[in-house]
Symmetry: C3
Subunit: 277 residues, 3 copies
């Protein structure tokens, strides 16, 4: 919808808004990445809260500026908590990011995702190619899921999913593609393959999308900004890590440092973004 | 009660006792900080154990020298486990530290805290200003909770809570205040604001209080010693981090290193403590 | 059974197989170490997945190449998930590693371990001396557990447990002993005491055994290879940490870096292994 031309300067303004406004991001996420995700949110300047008890999950949504749902270590009580939080978030009109970790890996994950989507459409869905293709298949029900997903196929699936849900969909990988229901499509080409060798980097991308969507009402632009920041931070972090002769342990630390210390000049100089027609 | 004059030398002796005796600290804590808390306890020289199953929680308390309860990601089964552990700890006479994470944020947290306090009084309650004011309000029931908490108001609330529970209460922030039911009051002014940008530093403070209380029977002095160590370690860790041009990712690591490597001379030279009349 | 003579070259080939084949290792593990274990598996070149819902745990086993069970923060629902996963893994014939964290600490842990072992024998059991002696006592039922365990007593208990279960048993400590039911016995003498001051290093050893057993069908050799790699990585990581004047915080990072960057020459030069008669 937005006709605003945007570039590194516009996206940088979103990062500055996160730093200035420190939005409260409520995450119901998986047990493996909770600590790293909380630290990623703190590093970017947001304020994380994690709560999943049915007795309080709606109340916590009421004080949050964004909600992030991640099914990585799902079980029925947690899925129900996610549904309750999703309903409360939609009622309040705050953005909701869904990370469909492992979509397609087991029938239960697919069932849980169907239930979540049936509860209400998230503002943003972010996953890797196979996850997005799997969710698109679930949402469309008339199409199968191609397990040998090519990048362009994932973009098509992302577009179909975006239209189906009226949501922004982000497929991350060597290139990150961000599409919306109106046909907007941006491709980001920063990052480094080592980022996949630190657990929770993808999940943290979703958390960061939540932080940006809390301050930038255009969820597509917020998603592009978050992915752009993480991509630039990631490639700089790998460079620093490799220059030190270090490895993926050190990379965790460099990623967090980079989220905090990213500067406007580096961001503008390194951003590799194409906004399609 | 204790009329012992104390200073850096006395507090240092408590740290040495932790290192020598390696107390077993049983934590029932939140899912976000478990790893960092366990590493903080190991770094200071204590021995962490985490167990929450109703089937064993009392048995684990029986072999521990301190119990730490943290409600960060509470749910009913975990609150019940905390109650069982608290009862067992009180029966055995080992110190119990309560960290009321997010007190006041939701009605459920307040209900859970009321239930915990009704089960029995912890030895120490440690939280930030708004958490302590919230718990003081719950414990006193006749006073409201001032959400625009000033530091001095939090100290008053801490004092009231200490008298109500017969416990030590620690309000942490730019200054850390430690009070008890008899009117003892110490203020510590070490630390750095970046410490709030690593998840679990406050929770680790509570864990460390547990380790010190396991070896120092005066819970007020143990709390002062733990907060003093963490404050000095924190400001040194931030200095090392900033000198390296690094950020809050690196700070996590420097905090753990500092807990292990803190030396007597640095501690004595840097401690900023006032013991009030 | 295998009469293959083996040495650093053979063990190195197993590490290379992990790096090349990136086996999917399904872990049902404790809440404290999940993040570190996932990162350890990623660093060595394996692919971690963690899932415990009863609704999907069997399905996840079906796509995994190894299963690792760790009872550190057990509760009944998780023990049941472990039983379901264990049955599915045995049915498929993939290796199962059991880490009996805290065996002997509470009656409930012993009961849970009995139930797990009654469900089916794991391929490998890895623990410290007191854990292995405790499990050996449970498995043998006619012998008590010596709580003042000497290293040689633990080896005897490990041998008895290995024969009872028809499994490989690894006792880790200053020396790591790896025995099997046929009487094979290797002793590894790498490592450093600081490794016990990072939470989850032992648990990660079990996870790494799972990764090696996924690519090396001789579970005894796979266990020796995994423990050999971690021991060499650990002592090199401590050396780098101490050379930097750093501590156990930094050691976490150096361990992960080392798992990724270990080279054949260092491994061969440093390996201290004795294969007994």
């Amino acid at each position: 919808m937005s006709q605003t031309r945007f570039d590194a300067t516009a996206l940088w303004a979103d990062l500055e808004a996160v730093r200035e406004r420190a939005p409260l991001v409520h995450s119901i996420t998986n047990l493996v990445v909770m600590n790293f995700n909380a630290n990623a949110l703190l590093a970017i300047g947001a304020s994380p809260v994690m709560a999943h008890a049915h007795e309080e999950v709606r109340d916590m949504v009421r004080i949050a500026q964004a909600l992030v749902l991640n099914i990585g270590t799902l079980e029925p009580g947690w899925v129900r908590a996610m549904q309750m939080a999703l309903q409360a978030a939609l009622a309040r009109g705050i953005p909701v990011v869904l990370d469909p970790v492992g979509a397609g890996a087991t029938p239960y994950r697919n069932t849980a995702l169907k239930e979540l989507i049936a509860t209400g459409a998230p503002s943003v869905v972010r996953g890797n190619a196979s996850e997005i293709m799997s969710v698109a298949g679930l949402a469309a029900t008339t199409r199968g899921v191609d397990s040998a997903a090519s990048s362009s196929q994932a973009v098509d699936a992302a577009g179909a999913l975006a239209r189906k849900l009226g949501a922004v969909v982000c497929v991350s990988g060597a290139d990150d593609h961000v599409v919306d229901a109106s046909g907007r499509w941006a491709t980001l080409s920063n990052g480094h393959p080592w980022m996949t060798r630190v657990t929770g980097v993808g999940c943290s991308a979703s958390a960061l999308v939540g932080a940006f969507a809390a301050v930038q009402p255009d969820a597509w632009r917020a998603t592009v900004a978050a992915m752009a920041c993480l991509g630039v931070v990631g490639e700089m972090a790998v460079e620093r890590t490799q220059a030190a002769g270090a490895g993926v342990g050190r990379l965790q630390i460099e990623l967090l440092d980079g989220l905090q210390l990213l500067d406007r000049e580096s961001f503008a100089a390194r951003l590799r973004m194409v906004v399609h027609a």
